[in-house]
């Protein structure tokens, strides 16, 4: 690590740390945000020699953030399934960033529908609608061509609409079911 590397790191951190933190914050529970953001910048520090200049820098940071989050999700996959099991038993688990903000039922419904999509589809929707990235930038983050990103975004949008409609139908059916009115799907 040279002085110029440290200066480069400082520059990246000052310019983009808020975006990286927001990216992480939008995708995980609040308790993990600091640790995961640190993991991102730790990786940045280790790979500072590979850091690109200009507009590519933020893409590179998003890419690293995405990979760090992917590892985190993989690690926590088993915990997540256990949490879902506990939630199905009425036991509260840690509250995600999404859940803290959502106030309206219709927003909850959409987040619920998104959570049922494939992880890759969820991420591409967030990159488009929360990070407001272009197809080119999304492609850079996910490591795919811009055209492929465009196509996958299209599919994810359609899948979201389909899943949302499916959940709405299910909710309606459950509301009409006497058993469900007593508090359970089963």
């Amino acid at each position: 690590m040279t002085v110029s590397d440290e200066a480069r790191f400082a520059s990246l951190y000052e310019l983009h740390q808020h975006r990286v933190t927001a990216y992480v914050r939008r995708r995980t529970e609040i308790d993990s945000v600091d640790d995961l953001t640190a993991e991102v910048f730790l990786t940045v520090w280790r790979k500072i020699g590979e850091a690109p200049d200009g507009d590519d820098a933020i893409r590179w940071l998003y890419r690293i953030s995405y990979l760090v989050l992917t590892n985190h999700w993989r690690r926590s996959g088993r915990n997540h399934r256990l949490n879902r099991k506990l939630e199905s038993l009425g036991i509260e688990t840690s509250v995600s960033a999404d859940e803290q903000v959502v106030m309206r039922q219709e927003l909850r419904d959409v987040l619920d529908a998104v959570s049922r999509l494939r992880p890759g589809d969820q991420e591409i929707l967030r990159l488009s609608l929360w990070e407001h990235l272009s197809h080119e930038d999304i492609g850079a983050v996910l490591g795919i061509e811009a055209n492929a990103a465009k196509q996958r975004l299209h599919r994810a949008r359609k899948a979201l609409v389909r899943e949302h409609e499916r959940l709405q139908k299910r909710t309606k059916r459950l509301q009409q079911s006497p058993a469900a009115q007593e508090g359970g799907e089963w």
Binding site: F9, A10, Y13, Q17, H18, R19, T21, A22, R25, R26, A38, F41, L42, W45, R46, G77, R81, K85, L89, I91, D98, Q100, V101, V102, E106, L107, V110, L111, A113, V114, R116, L117, R118, D121, L125, L129, W130, H132, N147, A148, Q151, R152, H154, R155, R157, K158, A159, L160, V161, R162, E163, H164, E165, R166, K169, R170, R173, G184, E185, W186
Partner: protein, 418 residues
């Protein structure tokens, strides 16, 4: 506002950290933060080294003992979880029993299913959607459940995705699926309302990667038909004549063709969908639906086309649409039966013959007489015929006078529309 737009707007609104909050700067100094990271990294390296050391000194019996302990812990956790569940919890209590078994091949409205001894496959429109392993069982006398877990070859789901499906036998041999209380893969078909009937064994298709439109761009042919897909749309040719043309979309492993206003045999908007399997330079198409009778009669079954980069599609049907006189200011160009004439201010300045192809969309003109060009001077133009207009584009011309007259791009309107 469409349903899709509304849902996407809601998702955008659900952003837990809106952009105006993103721009809040951190107070942490980069140097201090870097020092913290360096310390963290040093700690991590030490932990990694200790873990590596443990790994190299670990004895085989310890691995076996650890595995056994994990099994015991997993069993205990499962027991504890089951203790906490209500009596309606989705627990498989015994193997699938009479009056039937879910093993076999099933056909539903949304999808076809295969359940083997322990493996399953879900096929939608002839394309593998999901596959993996399953466990079927009964919860009580009236309720059966099957738990499916996606495997590595699943196309629409991620490996390890679990779904629990309620089902029961109805009306003899049929199976009624009645809800998926657990579904970690949102892309599974609508299993909630599916009725499955036993069907003949079918071949489980190999998993194929999702297609991109760019993978299909180009010419594809078999003995009597050609399919050309480019950035502007598609052209379908049967026995040398254009059958249909319009726009296309690729979604998943499905290719959807929508006939355009200039389709010779189909009405505008008529849709055709194909399940597509692309292997190297072979494009296998299986018809799934078609609104257009003529097209369905020709392409109702399955087709295997081979890549044909050099394909040209005759412009016979276009010839008819080109026939007539096209105007731009003082300029008039007439086409009829393979011959053209260009008039400026009512005076014929160039006459000759022309040929055209539908793909590539080219019009080639060659002078046979006139004052403007020498006999034999030719020019190849890209053309576009819309409802009432003709656009010609071309950068070069053996006849300079004609290039000046028509320029690099000229838009003419049909005299019939005036």
């Amino acid at each position: 506002m469409s349903k899709e737009t509304q849902i996407l707007a809601l998702f955008e609104e659900a952003n837990p950290v809106p952009d105006d909050q993103v721009m809040v700067r951190s107070d942490a100094e980069p140097a201090a933060y870097l020092a913290t990271l360096q310390q963290r990294s040093s700690d991590v390296i030490q932990i990694d080294e200790r873990a590596e050391e443990q790994k190299t000194t670990r004895k085989p019996w310890l691995i076996a003992a650890t595995a056994a302990a994990l099994v015991v812990v997993a069993g205990a956790m499962a027991f504890l979880l089951n203790q906490g569940e209500t009596e309606e919890a989705p627990v498989v209590t015994q193997p699938s029993a009479e009056p039937g078994t879910i093993e076999g091949y099933w056909s539903g409205e949304e999808a076809d299913f295969y359940f083997g001894e322990s493996e399953y496959a879900i096929v939608i429109d002839g394309v593998l959607s999901d596959s993996g392993t399953y466990v079927a069982g009964v919860r009580d006398a009236d309720n059966r459940i099957v738990t499916i877990t996606s495997g590595d070859e699943s196309v629409d789901c991620s490996p390890g995705d679990v779904a629990v499906i309620n089902y029961d036998f109805v009306g003899g041999d049929a199976v009624q699926l009645s809800g998926t209380p657990v579904d970690e893969c949102g892309l599974r078909p609508l299993l909630d309302v599916e009725t499955l009937n036993p069907t003949e064994p079918f071949e489980i298709p190999e998993p194929i990667d999702a297609l991109t439109p760019s993978a299909l761009i180009g010419g594809w042919s078999d003995s009597n038909s050609d399919l050309v897909l480019d950035d502007t749309g598609y052209v379908l040719v049967l026995s040398g004549s254009v059958l249909d043309r319009g726009t296309f979309e690729v979604s998943g492993n499905s290719l959807a063709l929508t006939s355009g206003p200039d389709s010779p045999q189909c009405e505008p908007g008529e849709l055709k969908t194909w399940a597509v399997e692309l292997t190297d330079d072979i494009l296998a198409l299986t018809n799934t639906s078609d609104d257009c009778g003529a097209r369905n009669a020709a392409y109702g079954g399955a087709r295997v086309l081979q890549s044909n980069p050099g394909v040209t599609i005759p412009g016979a049907d276009l010839d008819i649409r080109l026939n007539g006189t096209w105007l731009a200011g003082s300029l008039a160009i007439s086409f009829e039966d393979g011959e053209y004439s260009i008039a400026d201010d009512g005076e014929n300045v160039d006459e000759g013959t022309y040929t055209m192809t539908a793909f590539p969309d080219q019009l080639a003109i060659t002078t046979t007489r006139g004052d403007l060009c020498d006999v034999g001077n030719s020019r190849t133009l890209a053309y576009q015929i819309d409802d009432r207009s003709l656009t010609l584009r071309g950068d070069s011309d053996e006849c300079l006078g004609r290039l000046n007259l028509l320029t690099n791009e000229i838009v003419l309107v049909s005299s019939a529309s005036r």
